[in-house]
Each structure stands twice: as structure tokens, then as C-alpha cells.
């Protein structure tokens, strides 16, 4: 079982309280009507599938109810960090060294 740190509750808690919510930092176009079909397709359906650190959304469903972001290594399942929704994407190089 994974232990996940909720940045709102500030506690590290069992995975069963959380749900996965897909790739993070997928930004909707400011002017949707300017988008081509290909751009819409990319926004709606195309996701990265990295081997290694992945920016993704989680929700503390059975807890504070909040969505937040995480960087998880898809190979080791290790969470490199979690941070509040709306916070900037953390720099990967600053996380790689800190794998405790």
C-alpha cells in the first residue's frame, strides 16, 4: 500500500483514502474557439506516458476532499513530492536528489 502526503491535511496517509485523477497541468486554451480539431484532440485525449517521474492529479476523496498534484515515479511508484492545486510545477532536478 502506498502512503501519500496530502498537502492540505499535512499528513501522510494510506492510499485507500485517495483516488487517482489523471495527468496534471493539462491547461485548457484561454480562447477555446481558436482551437483546431487537432489541438482539441491533443487537449482532450493525448496524454504523456512517461517511464519515470510523472506529474499527476490525486484527490483526497475520503478525507479533506481536495484535488492536489503529485510527482510520482512510474517505475518505482515512489512519490517525489505532492503540492497544492494551483501551485507551480516543481522543478524535476530539485526532486531527483531527494528520494528519501
Amino acid at each position: 500500500m502506498l502512503l501519500i502526503h496530502c498537502p492540505y491535511c499535512d499528513e501522510t496517509l494510506p492510499e485507500v483514502e485517495f483516488t487517482y485523477a489523471g495527468q496534471a497541468h493539462v491547461v485548457r486554451a484561454a480562447d477555446p474557439s481558436s482551437q483546431t480539431d487537432a489541438e482539441w484532440e491533443n487537449f482532450l485525449f493525448i496524454r504523456s506516458n512517461p517511464k519515470g517521474p510523472h506529474y499527476e492529479r490525486w484527490r483526497h476523496l475520503h478525507g479533506c476532499g481536495r484535488f492536489f498534484n503529485a510527482v510520482r515515479d512510474t517505475v518505482s511508484d515512489r512519490f517525489l513530492t505532492t503540492y497544492k492545486a494551483g501551485a507551480p510545477r516543481p522543478d524535476l532536478s530539485s526532486l531527483q536528489g531527494d528520494r528519501t
Binding site: 491535511c9 496517509l13 494510506p14 483514502e17 478525507g63 479533506c64 476532499g65 481536495r66
Partner: protein
């Protein structure tokens, strides 16, 4: 085995030598959602809403637990519900918020006895001992969303939605029997 808990009974639902599960008397329940300056709501409620998730406050028959950054569960006497709703409704224009009466949505199970914390581990993956006495948490109990109030080192309350209560109470009854068999 599911346990019927739809109507209030004072007798324990399950009792073992080291843990006991009973149903709390009906209580008024309100869910409050609000953001920004809480001063006006604090004045209307007659207490200071805790802003750290898991912390509680109480005053004059009203008990409140912070569930999220903008969410609180209030327990109060059923006949106080109308007055609290009216006091908060008066603030709606100046401080928009949501206050919903969920009194009929859930029941509260009281779990106590020397091994009450251990009994909870039958369904709760959290470290129960890490929840300080006098606080509470929304968590999952065998995948059911519940609110766990820790009233003492061996005294808990568990708020469970009606439709899940027979399952949760049944599981706790099984746990009571297991603990009793161990100590027998």
C-alpha cells in the same frame, strides 16, 4: 453479517469483553462550507471555527469538526438546528456560504472499551493512535467514507451514512467477537 441500525436502540449493538459498539442518540447534523473571513459565522455560531483539518471546537451544545479547508461538520441538539440555520441565513448576503441539514443522512456509532482503537483497525487503514484525543478525521472504513471522532484514548464516535451503517456495524460486531475470543 449486516446489522440493522435504522432505528435508535439504547442497548449496545455489539459487546465484547474489551470493546463495545452502540448507537448514539439522534443528533442534529449540519455541513457548513465557507471561505474567506469567518468572523461573522463565528459570531453567529458562538464559537471559533477551527481552520486546521481534524481540529474540533465546542460551545453551548454545539460541536464542530474541520473536515477540509472550507468544510465543517456541526453536531448539535436536533431542536437547535432551526435557530442555527436562521442565524447563518441572515449572513447569506454579506457572507455567501452553504449550510445543509444532513441530520437524516447518517447515524453515529459509539465505540469504546480498552481495545476500541484496535477494533477500528478491522476497517480503518489509518494509524488510529496518531489521531490526538479531542480531534477527528474523515477517513475510510472498509472503503466507506466515515467521520471518526476521538473523544478519549479508548472512546470514539463513527459517523456513517445510513445505507452503509449495517455493513460497518456488522464488521465491528465481527471484530468485537474476534477480540473477545482472543481475550477469553
Amino acid at each position: 453479517m449486516n446489522k440493522l441500525v435504522s432505528s435508535f436502540t439504547a442497548a449496545p449493538l455489539a459487546r465484547g469483553a474489551v470493546a463495545r459498539v452502540s448507537l448514539a442518540p439522534p443528533v442534529g447534523r449540519l455541513v457548513l462550507r465557507a471561505r474567506g473571513d469567518l468572523a461573522a459565522l463565528n459570531a453567529a455560531l458562538g464559537l471559533t471555527l477551527p481552520t486546521t483539518i481534524g481540529q474540533r471546537a465546542a460551545a453551548a451544545g454545539l460541536e464542530v469538526l474541520c473536515l477540509g479547508p472550507d468544510e465543517w461538520m456541526l453536531h448539535l441538539s436536533p431542536d437547535q438546528v432551526g435557530a442555527v440555520q436562521a442565524a447563518c441565513a441572515a449572513l447569506m448576503a454579506s457572507h455567501p456560504h452553504s449550510l445543509v441539514d444532513v441530520s437524516g443522512r447518517e447515524v453515529t456509532l459509539v465505540i469504546d472499551g480498552p481495545r476500541a482503537a484496535e477494533l477500528l483497525t478491522i476497517g480503518c487503514a489509518r494509524d488510529i493512535e496518531a489521531i490526538p484525543v479531542g480531534q477527528g478525521r474523515r477517513t475510510a472504513f472498509d472503503n466507506v467514507t466515515v467521520i471518526l471522532w476521538r473523544d478519549g484514548s479508548a472512546a470514539f464516535r463513527l459517523d456513517v451514512w445510513n445505507s452503509f451503517a449495517p455493513h460497518v456495524a456488522g464488521l465491528l460486531e465481527t471484530g468485537c467477537r474476534e477480540l473477545a475470543a482472543e481475550t477469553a
